[in-house]
């Protein structure tokens, strides 16, 4: 009896070992076996425009009235599917015009010259060096890219609007309503937004990625220039060197990257 149990256990053990090794060998065979095809790669587009720190210079001397700004604003809003809402509290704006006293609040005084007083200034997200909106965002939906562009990931935005409270420039708009019905002509190349997310200027990141200049630059007939602020040879640096420029609320320390020649 003792003998037969012993032999039974032997056979059972060897069988179990035999059954157990096959799946293990299969795994080894599968992991090392297919080396023929290289792994897929992910990269930037070859034609993409890049910079260390993107910046913008707006030459306000080339604008005279609100009509001069309209085609630029329209170009921006059209390609980004920005809805046209008439209710002022619901308005969504990426790029718009405003008066000197509202734009440069710390510089305004009552005796300022007439040209400046009535001149509309183009305003947009300043793509700050130290963006307050990024610090305020609880979901990291807003973030600063390595090249200085402050972007939004609309997928992650929960619509808390902390960023809107944090932004000292009022550059952000909230979709209080579904924007789709208010978009006159949908641009199929760019998504719309949905109700309950915040949106703002994205420095045309999607255009830079395919080698195109931002839409406002193209529509401005040379009044708006963008380029690399860290490259001393760039066009924006040349403009900053040769002209007197101001920024919006620099004393707040956010480090706006949009400069105005006045």
């Amino acid at each position: 009896m003792g003998n037969s149990r012993r032999s039974f256990l032997k056979v059972a053990g060897i069988t179990a070992l035999g059954i157990g090794t096959k799946p293990v060998l299969d795994v080894f065979a599968a992991s090392g076996g297919h080396g023929a095809e290289p792994k897929p790669e992910v990269s930037q587009n070859e034609e993409a425009l890049t910079a260390k720190r993107w910046g913008m210079v707006i030459d306000t001397r080339k604008f005279h009235s609100a009509e001069d700004l309209d085609p630029i604003i329209e170009a921006c809003h059209k390609i980004h599917n920005v809805p046209e809402l008439t209710e002022p509290r619901h308005k969504v704006m990426w790029l718009w015009g405003d008066e000197y006293k509202h734009v440069f609040t710390h510089r305004e005084h009552e005796l300022i010259n007439d040209r400046i007083k009535h001149l509309p200034f183009l305003v947009l997200c300043n793509h700050c060096e130290k963006p307050a909106c990024v610090r305020a965002c609880p979901t990291k939906a807003t973030f600063k890219r390595d090249d200085g562009i402050v972007l939004m990931d609309f997928h992650r935005c929960i619509g808390c609007r902390f960023c809107m409270a944090a932004c000292p420039y009022g550059s952000r708009s909230f979709n209080f309503r579904d924007p789709r019905p208010f978009i006159k002509e949908e641009n199929k190349e760019f998504p719309t937004r949905m109700k309950g997310v915040v949106e703002k200027c994205n420095f045309c990141a999607e255009r830079l990625a395919v080698g195109k200049m931002p839409a406002c630059v193209e529509a401005s007939n040379g009044a708006i220039t963008v380029g690399d602020l860290d490259d001393s040879e760039s066009e924006v640096r040349e403009l900053l060197r040769t002209n007197y420029t101001i920024r919006r609320k620099p004393d707040l320390g956010a480090g706006p990257s949009v400069y105005y020649i006045v």
């Binding site: 290289p38 990269s43 090249d147 972007l151 997928h155 998504p191 949905m194």
Partner: protein
Amino acid sequence: MYDKNKIVTGLVIFVAIVTFPFWYNLGKAIPAPEPKLSEKAKAAKECVVPKADMKSEHMQILDLWRDTVVRDANRAYKTGKGKTFNMSLSTGEDSCTGCHDNKAEFCDKCHNYASVDPYCWDCHIAPKEKKPEENK
């Protein structure tokens, strides 16, 4: 046993009601739908990854892609075979819907069957549906 007849009748009725969904739907199972490829997708033959992986992992791929595009600004995807795709759901000819331009036949068929309701189309603009005769 008291009231045997009443109890047995009651039990029979109870079992009949409880099992009603099972025998009512017996043999009526809807077959799993097959997504229909557009002519363009058929002509292209290959997708970003093999078909079986695409079937099981397209949601993870899309999720990874959107982070890669939005966060890292990497928009070009080169497959192992050397073909390059634009990492986008709805922008341009070499994006997902640039090739699979029949949302109802391709996306919705399975999504409706599996009762999943992805929110892609809340923002992304779906490709324009062609009339059936144009598709053929």
